[in-house]
Amino acid sequence: MNCTHDHDTLVLLYYGELTGPEQAEVRNMIATCASCQAAWQSLEADMNVIDGLVEPVRVDEMDVQRARASVRAEVLADAATTGRARPLHVVRWAASVAAAFLVFAAGWYLGAVDNENKWVDAVLFDANSQQVRIDYVGESESESSLSGSIHDAPMQRELGVILASDIDPVSRMRAARALASARIAPNVNVTNVLSDVLATDGNPVVRLQAVRALHGLFDQRPLPESVRAVLVERVEVDPNTAVRMKAMEILVASEQVSMDMQQTMQRVGSDERENPYIRFMAKRSLERLSGE
């Protein structure tokens, strides 16, 4: 019994996952090797038993119909509020008009801010009520403020503008921290701003808050490819240990496997100069990815 053949291949044979030539090779192996023959017979016998015990779960058609009806009701409500249920050319036309308006409005809005020469004095966020207050100071020291829920799109946009363009790192950090502490659902605009800030902001504290906010947004949710790519890049190149650590934590928790992530984990896990905790996380992730 000095068989050195790979018996895992027998599982692939059983499930019909081998190509013609591979199948012929394995069948030949079974025919000529006593150990392989015994392993194949044992596998077939076990799988027959398992086959008899594992059955597809019975699904009540009425339950499924009810579930689908409920989805349909929400889909129709969605379509009514977003206008999706209109013919495609109308939607495209409306989208073009809306985009043009948004470009105009954004230009007007940013221009208005410049003209008034206001800048952010403070960003305050109450995690309990999820309310934000942004205090502005004008050139003449006149003060104004904007208050609202962090769940409102205009407030999220305002925080995004601060994050992306405010000259004061403390304001940017506070805007990111508000988003990190909020219980908001992921949306494209906030995600894009946070990803950009994480990838490009020169201040490590702002980047740390941005990566924390991304963690909050995608906790228990699949990471979009764009976010995953930024996190992988941060793990490799971010000069701040806390940022690399947080980015690593999100990637490991996501359990999303990809070639570039495996390569990054291998590099980071074997880098002696890297922080021991980050190396440990990289190794643990590799073990998970390889199913150990």
Partner: protein, 180 residues
């Protein structure tokens, strides 16, 4: 992809709820079965299916035809079910009996045979419960639903080699349990 699917997807992408419903109706029962294998009970599986279907509807504009609608929907549902299970496991342990659901005895079987089968089923349910979420998902997709490994890889967004590893480990653990 068959042209009918393509036509339905285009209509659904332009906001046609009927077309989306038609697409869902082709996969719904099977997706619920797969999800039930992960969540461990039917009410949660139906909830997860609804959430996954809504997610699919809301991100339909981003759907590219590099996989079938069925594979894409199943992937969303599996991700949803895995995160649901993670959340649920923080709150409570899943009773082993619930993992595969009760299976009715055949009317013709003798009482002893019924008990024996029930015993074996409980044993296998326990072995299934000892698999990791990914191992159980891969095994169910392969063994019960007969998906190809490349399709499972697309659903789980991972390499085919990784799927094979999970499958080998699941089969090994279940067989070990049978012989113990």
């Amino acid at each position: 992809m068959v042209p009918v699917d393509e036509h339905l997807i285009t209509r659904a992408q332009s906001g046609d709820a009927d077309a989306f419903d038609a697409l869902l109706s082709r996969s719904d029962a099977r997706v619920v079965q797969i999800v039930q294998g992960i969540t461990g009970n039917m009410p949660d599986a139906l909830d997860v299916f609804q959430n996954a279907a809504l997610k699919a509807w809301r991100s339909l504009s981003g759907f590219r035809a590099d996989s079938s609608f069925d594979t894409w929907l199943t992937r969303i549902a599996i991700n949803e079910a895995l995160s649901h299970r993670k959340k649920a496991s923080r709150l409570r342990a899943v009773p082993l009996d619930d993992v595969c659901g009760p299976v009715l005895e055949e009317a013709t079987a003798s009482p002893d045979a019924g008990l024996l089968r029930e015993d074996e089923e409980r044993g296998l349910a326990a072995a299934m419960a000892n698999l990791s979420s990914r191992e159980r998902t891969v095994f169910t997709l392969k063994h019960v639903h007969d998906y190809k490994i490349r399709e499972i890889a697309a659903m789980l967004d991972c390499a085919e080699g990784t799927v094979k590893n999970y499958l080998f480990r699941a089969v090994h653990k279940l067989r070990k349990h049978l012989t113990s």
